[in-house]
Symmetry: C3
Subunit: 370 residues, 3 copies
């Protein structure tokens, strides 16, 4: 068979949105229903038989049909709004007048939030299908709410507690003594040991929670492991990305604060503490015993050394290397970390200095030798 | 038991190549057969009873036997060629005369490509062993070609389609509605959901494909997830490394173009698109909605922010931090990314400027204050 | 249900140490017993009924009870020593006099090592529970010592050998021909293929060992895979972190030397060799065919290109980008790598030069144009 571009390239493929192969669809809903869910103001279309119209799904501005809802969140894509055929468009007040006459609108000061709620009305997260798969292994003395769904090949240890409505994915391993709250989603091939999870915690596939921290002492014949005797606490509404790793504490706990979200391939060392609603983007790592306040953002591939403190609402830039405390509200980037302004000033300075030799290399070199 | 170096150090261990514990071996083959497969020219040995000789395996220059094939691809190792006892050596034209008189040669302008084909003749990838393991779980309405091999503890969802000759490894999880082409190799503990795979796609163990992208809006009580309603398309001949993660799109698709190869621990964000034959080396990450043209190389640990475009054949260096578009054919490195020449000029400039204080600190400081 | 901080925040939670939900506890032990295990000197308390006292567990200085053992390793926390109620404290000689009168002491020149041994006396690693789970799949001609524990849903290939006392976790996959030594701990969802493991090797959950290296040649119709025909050797006492990946060699072996410890999410390329007792911290990556001597430390998120040599006891700093050989004993950091002193001198130089414009921009610019 000849090599080609394959499925995506075949037949001028358009993007699929909310394909029924993968997503169930609720609805249809009226514009007023959607506006109420979105927390925005419904504005009927100025033209056409828009009254009483209902909407059956969502789509991007450039391809949404009159029966679909779309949104504009980024000024860059405003031209798409002018040409859209979407029957209902979610926009910020500044764009309300630019909505085409045939489209109704939901006007919201937070259109992306409104959009997320409308999209979730059509495509809500699925509920647990109560029951324990016949191919799951359940330990002794475990208390699993009858409303839970336990997938095939899951392994639940001894003395585990799992709250109502929680889904445990296939091949997930829940170690002895672990407690999991209500309405959690534990993905396929997740391992959780030595941990306590709040409610509505979501662990994406392959996340590994609660293994030994990286702790050892130098002995006469090599390294000797230091027992890691703490545990991991994931508070309510925490989400952990695919294949991320969170080590348990050594003599205290590793804690991820309520509402915090960690992306894929993130590493959290032992005894580390994140406050509420922190964001840690993919491939970032936080070393042991470091403490983050609330609402801290750590961008992709950033690294924080151990035993430092990051203040509330600080923002750590992508690939930043943080070697010391960061004040609340600070914006830092670079390796070692420095304020954003300083970093970009450094970049400009170095570029300027490096260009000199081209216009007057000999003279400058002479000046150096004085 | 006393601590020692263990198995590798015992008994002055030599490297094992193509150990029969792990690899099956085909052959023997004549030099002409191998040259034809390699796409190179067969040159008999100048001395000895080389005619009619066949070869039974491969080995490195320094240890290959007269019954084995070896190759030289890197000028640095040319001295090994002079001393080799390999019966057949694959070399570029420039080294043809340096092949020892007792060795035959395959001369090829692309000796590494020729080598890969010869090695694959002796050690081809194994074929599927048709059948579904009794310990696999298969969903409703799935269409699995009878020639497929489905390993133990695999979980296949509802409405899945799997093409001829494909191997699904143990513990792999294939979500509802996923389509997988022919002759694919899905490794152990891979999770694939919300995805369409072309033919000959290889997913190494632990790869996670199709989970929710990292998308949320800020609500009054914390973050609210934005439904991720796109899917993932892996075109023909795509390979994804161990424990890598590819998120599905939000309102469009995440697409990895035909023939692209991603190494281990790579992260691809939602809506990201890679063209044909891109290379992404280990621990690199590409953020959401970024688009790569064809033949783009992203070296190890590089990071690309979201919503940018990388032109065809651009090369992104190791640990590079790309914050803006990169032109076709450009070579960039550094964080922030800059042309290779500029980066190394900057490094040299800074080294020069930092050395000054040692030879004339006072004078220079005075000059600054003028 | 209202959103809150969840389990950790409820009721002014104190940290849990060695919670019996997760950890078994041995003991009690006398101070002399513990001192002997620790390799330190026992010093009875100066006051109180300390003679004949035994200790039942461990705890941090600030919360340990008179029946518990604690330790001081970091000068920063010396104030906690003054106030501790721990019955027994492990300290360096310099702090022996500062131990409160009611506390006994173990005085050791290596208090952290002493601590690790005391903690392990109370909480030893659990032994294998001999037996093969009924839901495990075992291949033909495998030799598994009867003292081994094989967990549920494990898959053991053909011709595998596993030594006495080894634990194979749930869902682990051990490929055909793999040899594993004694007293190893193979975590849940580990995949090992094409490999030989020594004794006491620990693989944390999700580690992937032995898959194909990232090797391909450019062919006329796209990339062509180069068969990867080496294997992976993990010598005695090697530990590999969660979700880390180690590729097998192409024409030689990938070797991790005895006693080396790799953290989570580490990538090791094909043919790479680490000497004895190397440390590789999380998210670091070492490219193919690079060789490390003994006792090399690679800090978090560092990256080493392929085909270079790192000398014995060299230390590679966090986020370092190593593009060329590093001498034995050298300390390097930065990208590209340079000696620590040079790196921080560069940082200071650039900061100084960038500040200039604020105090005399016009004059300096004029100087440039001369």
């Amino acid at each position: 068979m000849a090599r080609g571009q394959g499925p995506a390239a075949q037949a001028g493929r358009a993007d699929t949105v909310a394909d029924t192969r993968f997503f169930t669809r609720h609805g249809p809903f009226s514009g007023e229903q959607l506006a109420e869910a979105a927390g925005g103001e419904f504005v009927p279309a100025r033209e056409g038989h828009a009254d009483g119209r209902t909407y059956s799904g969502i789509g991007p501005l450039q391809s949404a049909a009159p029966s679909e809802v779309s949104f504009l969140d980024n000024r860059r894509y405003a031209a798409l709004l002018d040409a859209t055929k979407a029957g209902l468009v979610i926009v910020a007040p500044a764009f309300a007048k630019r909505v085409p006459p045939g489209s109704a609108a939901i006007v919201s000061p937070t259109p992306y939030l409104a959009w997320s709620r409308v999209a979730r009305m059509f495509h809500p997260a699925r509920n647990a299908r109560p029951g324990i798969h016949t191919m799951a292994v359940i330990g002794a003395d475990s208390v699993i709410d009858p409303s839970c769904e336990i997938g095939p090949f899951a392994v639940i240890g001894d003395g585990v507690e799992i709250g109502a409505g929680t889904i445990i994915g296939s091949h997930a391993v829940i170690g002895d003594g672990v407690r999991i709250g209500q309405d959690c989603r534990i993905g396929a091939q997740v391992v959780v040991s030595h941990a306590t999870l709040g409610d509505r915690v979501i662990l994406f596939p392959g996340a590994k929670i609660g293994q030994d921290g990286f702790g050892f002492a130098v002995g006469p014949a090599g390294f000797e492991s230091v027992p890691q005797l703490g545990h991991v606490v994931l508070e309510h509404d925490v989400e952990i990305g695919a294949n991320s790793t969170i080590d348990r504490g050594s003599v205290q706990d590793t804690v991820i604060g309520a509402g915090s979200r960690l992306d894929n391939l993130v590493q959290i060392g032992h005894n580390t503490r994140l406050g509420k609603c922190c964001i840690v983007v993919s491939q970032a790592g936080i070393s042991g015993s470091t403490e983050l306040g609330d609402y801290v953002t750590v961008a992709a591939q950033a690294g924080l050394i151990g035993h430092i403190k990051i203040g509330t609402k600080a923002r750590i830039g992508a690939q930043c290397g943080v070697m010391s405390d960061v004040e609340a509200g600070a914006d830092v980037i670079g390796s070692p970390a420095m304020p954003f302004r300083e970093f970009f000033r450094n970049v400009a300075t170095l570029r300027r200095l490096s260009k000199k030799p081209e216009s007057g290399n000999a003279g400058e070199a002479g000046a150096e030798e004085k």
